[in-house]
Symmetry: C4
Subunit: 353 residues, 4 copies
């Protein structure tokens, strides 16, 4: 969602140095019920997932993160090479800089992903607010930029509201999304960026014809928290306070997944997903796949092998969860028994009223 | 509620030096549901609130605090100037000293507010127990003293019960309130002072014809706590113990707001309100406005700009909450979705039985 | 329940030196609902309580504690003088030593209470297990010993089970209690000693014709804990372990009070009652009076004034609770609104199934 | 479940040195309701339990632990002698080494138990996965090895999944179990090893004709935790991470006991059982007996007297619980009143939906 190069740099530095993760995604409140007699062979369990006709090796998404500055090119190449090698999905960060700046090096920070991952499922990223300025052809340009398999439109109005310079006009976004969903050549995923989606929002998006939602719920990376630190750095005290106040605002990821899945066939669960077990829980709640952003940053700075290793670990964790719930495939995992405890149970209960 | 000058001084010193705030107002247990697609422009959101025909710029009340001693004149002037500049409501502390002492300097500590705020919504303050001695004309004198837009009648029987010298005769108060509500030239607000109001009490007040209630619930400044410290200072051990025992007595503000709003059209939520987000939650629970006392003390000691800054921060926090719930006006905020968790949920549940 | 002099000494020393109080009586989970407009005069509130035709100044009981050794005479005299001065009820500890030992000094440790308190409500104490050996005439002897207004029969089988030398034959107790209840010249109170009574036990006691029960529930002094320390001192490791394991065994006092009150007209709530506010809560739950043991030990060691002071503090705390719930009498307090939260709410809920 | 000698050694060392117990078995959430008037003699309470026609002195099981290496012979002899002296049941660890290795000393590590305990109830142990390779005659060989009174078939697929070299093919186990249950000369107990059994799994096992289940639920020794340590020692990082992630996976023992007892007549509760009070609670939940593994390791290293002492302590703890619930026999204990609080209550509630 951040667009200018310098801002992106600020963000990544803050994410690496400060505590900008919240708790409360809700996965800790969910217990999948153990199957002592699974009657499957762990290594023959199918973890493949279909994403708009593309068969992923595992329901794992490297969430939209970066691009837009020459020094992000390497990160994106590393992530893309790992996505290619493991056959998981990957998004790029907001393409605004790529669309608006006329700079080869900036452009390369995006195009590098398709070069590095000719076969992987890659999806682009634009902000909902930008759609008010863009025509569908501009979005097609973003698609073309990385030969995208899908396009993510992000919603990040809380982050904008914390930024002193933020774009806080949210009017007309739904209509613009509807138009893009109707006309774009590739499927459209609408995603939040850390505050989640309620059933009501998800329903409006389903009515607008979007192909999938990525809930990006509360419980992981907090953009209000990040912007609060950025505001502090420039002495913008009121923004700093507001960022702190809304640090953990939003629908918890687990709740959001459950709610979105009542109206969408294809839900990506992200926001505080931290293991293959969390992915398994998300799928039991109705998700198609689980996405992670922050946990990929560290490995991406180290190299392709480290990213691949994380993906393989996530996959084995997921596979283990499938094994001990006796789920031979993701569709069986979706039907597995689970219990919801604590705050998440209370939250869901309240939302049912 | 304190009346004599010296006592007022004691109180303010204790509030500044000791821990006399409780937790448990309940706002932390309430989550407004995020709207990822708000479809409003944050800066065009209407935060205006109607209070007895006066349009406030924001549903913010500087709660009844001080007056009655020459050295409170400055505090009241500062608060009133800020109220004038920001167009929010403000109350003065108990006017008993102003009515009973024949002292120009004491009087000025009240009258200063109208001088400093010719246009702001200002309301007076008398104790329910005093009504037994006063006629309606005495209350009119209090109105005239500050050219009040409304008159608050405070209930503080727990505080009285902790004071060695307290007035613990509560008989006849309701009838006296009814008479004043019937005859006074301005609207009557009945307010607690930190222990809240149950639905039952609120109902009796509605039946008595009062125009509004300010719940002043448990969860913020604790007068039992303050009086306990005062008792300790004079060696009144039994009173000290009782003040401590009843430190967190009362209906939590969030619960009280919800209950009062079932029988009153105009409810002010106060007691532990600490941010514009708390105000937003209070409004979602049914309040007309949110009030704060203690948080204004520090800034009021510094200057008008500091008080204005706090009000502007509260307002932007409220506006941000409205933005991310997609509420274009307070009436839309009142209808926004929320969940109630934890102890507050349990409390409400029990009260429904 | 302890009978021999030395054992009593051990007990009191352990109670003074070790941590032998548990939490969980449940009063902290109960909130009486504040009445902001009480419409009573605090100092005209009636705290008088009827106990078998005797009007107590307040529903306060100094629970059965001591007697049986010459060096307890002073404690009992002090407590009795305070009971006389304040007109509250008082029990003596187990009278077994008085009945079985032929020793003037031992006897005096009991008889002193009537000497010191000619008018107070005093009640005797025998163990249920002793009833198997005693005839009703022996119990009458215990009555006569202190000119008792009532006789308490204590149940302490868990304590006995932890004692290496304990009496663990509980057979026939109910029949023996029924006989005594039927024939004794004074009312019979059956009391536990820190583990509470379920509704089922209370019902059996009601059917047996006892006049009152004292729940003596879990949450205050723990006799398993005390006996565990005593066992440790003599190297009885298994007993020590068992005492620790059952340290917090029993029906919490608040739950027990609620349950017993469904079948008994006269219920005394004890076990972790620590303030006049706890007494108020107990009465709202259905108790006739609240009793305390351990909190009286310290003051009793100091002097009559200290005990009177504690009683007066308890009474003012109770009166304050009555004031701020608008209860002019104990019968109004019994009907006051309250909420039950947390573990106690869960416990009650489970017991309803 | 571990089979080779060296692995067994690793396991025992890790169990002794590392923290490989989880919490959450659920017994702490269960309160047996106190009976103040038990009407039984503690020392005449019947703690005898029937296990397939064998009358145990108490419903206590020394769970399957060891054998398979000459240096475990002493442990097994000690445990068996204690089982003989106290007349409780005892299992041996996996007999795979005994069946597959042709080594007298290894064999002796199993056969020693029958030598030391000619009359005790002893049961054998094989892994469900081994049944795929074994015929029923191989299992009969295991029975003969210790003249077993019953045979336990263990399920430990999570442990296998954490081991780098684990056997993760669970297909066909149920059919194999059904065959053995049908044909074996002694009763068959299917047991988990620390992750519990759901009602669904228990039902499938009941349908397969097994004679009893041992739930071995979550809340005690964690094999994922143990294997995680073992993986760490050999630098297998991914396995280490997975072991940690699934450290507390499984159905809590209390829940599992309740669920299994709805479909099985004979349920052994194990996994975090740590006292005779836990055993009493398990029986109230529907178990036939309670089993412990880890708590026996320490005493077994010391000597027979220490093991006997632990058993006698457990028995007296159980007896005490029976006494204060007024249960003269285990069948009365099974019908005693209890409440379920906290997380366990929530878990059960969720499972009922
Ligand atoms: C470093 C970083 C940069 C991000 N940049 C974008 C972005 O440009 N566009 C977007 O839609 N989301 C962006 N996100 C949000 C994630 O895509 C995702 O929505 C969020 O839920 C991931 O949460 P997690 O970090 O807790 O796993 C970013 C997240 C991180 C950590
Ligand atoms: C310093 C101070 C003085 C107060 N004086 C009065 C008063 O004179 N009359 C009155 O009605 N309430 C008085 N109050 C109570 C507040 O008006 C209000 O009822 C209370 O709920 C504010 O809670 P808060 O401090 O937690 O925001 C006072 C509060 C404070 C902190
Ligand atoms: C020092 C001491 C001695 C006691 N002795 C007796 C006794 O002899 N007989 C009896 O019935 N209860 C005895 N009790 C128990 C109390 O009477 C009462 O049942 C218990 O609930 C009081 O709890 P508390 O100490 O938490 O207030 C004794 C309690 C204490 C603290
Ligand atoms: C040292 C040790 C070794 C064990 N070995 C076996 C085994 O060989 N076969 C088996 O079925 N269970 C084995 N178990 C698991 C226990 O039999 C039992 O299932 C488990 O629930 C005991 O839990 P606890 O240690 O928390 O009491 C072992 C447990 C321990 C502590």
């Amino acid at each position: 969602m951040p667009e200018t190069s310098d801002r992106k740099d600020d963000h990544i530095r803050i994410i690496e140095e400060e505590d900008v993760e919240t708790t409360g995604a809700g996965f800790a409140d969910i217990d999948l019920v153990h199957e002592a007699l699974p009657e499957v062979h762990r290594d023959e369990i199918e973890t493949t997932a279909d994403l708009f006709g593309h068969e992923l090796a595992a329901p794992i998404v490297i969430e939209s993160m970066t691009g837009g500055h020459p020094n992000t090119t390497k990160l994106n190449r590393t992530l893309a090479e790992a996505a290619e090698r493991t056959n998981v999905a990957m998004g790029v960060g907001s393409q605004r800089a790529g669309l608006e700046l006329d700079d080869e090096a900036v452009l390369e920070s995006y195009t590098v992903v398709r070069d590095a991952a000719p076969n992987a499922f890659l999806y682009g990223n634009v902000g909902a607010a930008q759609l008010l300025e863009y025509g569908v052809d501009d979005v097609e340009e973003a698609v073309a930029m990385i030969d995208a398999d899908a396009m993510a439109i992000h919603l990040n109005f809380l982050q904008e509201a914390v930024q002193p310079e933020g774009d806080v006009d949210a009017r007309g976004c739904l209509a613009a999304i509807e138009r893009v969903a109707d006309e774009l050549s590739v499927p459209v995923i609408v995603k939040e960026t850390g505050n989640g989606m309620s059933r009501e929002t998800a329903t409006r998006l389903a009515d607008a014809g979007v192909d999938a939602v990525d809930v990006a719920g509360q419980g992981g990376t907090t953009w209000s928290g990040i912007e609060s630190h950025r505001a502090a750095a420039v002495g913008a005290q009121r923004q700093e306070a507001i960022g702190r106040l809304f640090r953990a605002w939003g629908v918890p990821t687990a709740v959001s997944t459950l709610e979105a899945a009542t109206v969408h066939d294809c839900v990506i669960a992200s926001g505080g997903v931290r293991s293959g077990l969390d992915i398994a829980k998300a799928i039991a709640l109705g998700a198609r796949a689980g996405g992670l952003a922050k946990p990929f940053l560290g490995p991406a700075g180290q190299g392709v092998d480290e990213v691949v290793d994380l993906i393989e670990t996530l996959r084995l964790e997921l596979r283990t969860a499938m094994f001990v719930t006796g789920s031979a495939s993701l569709s069986e995992l979706r039907d597995t028994e689970y219990v919801v405890l604590g705050r998440t149970n209370e939250y869901i209960d309240q939302r049912r009223r």
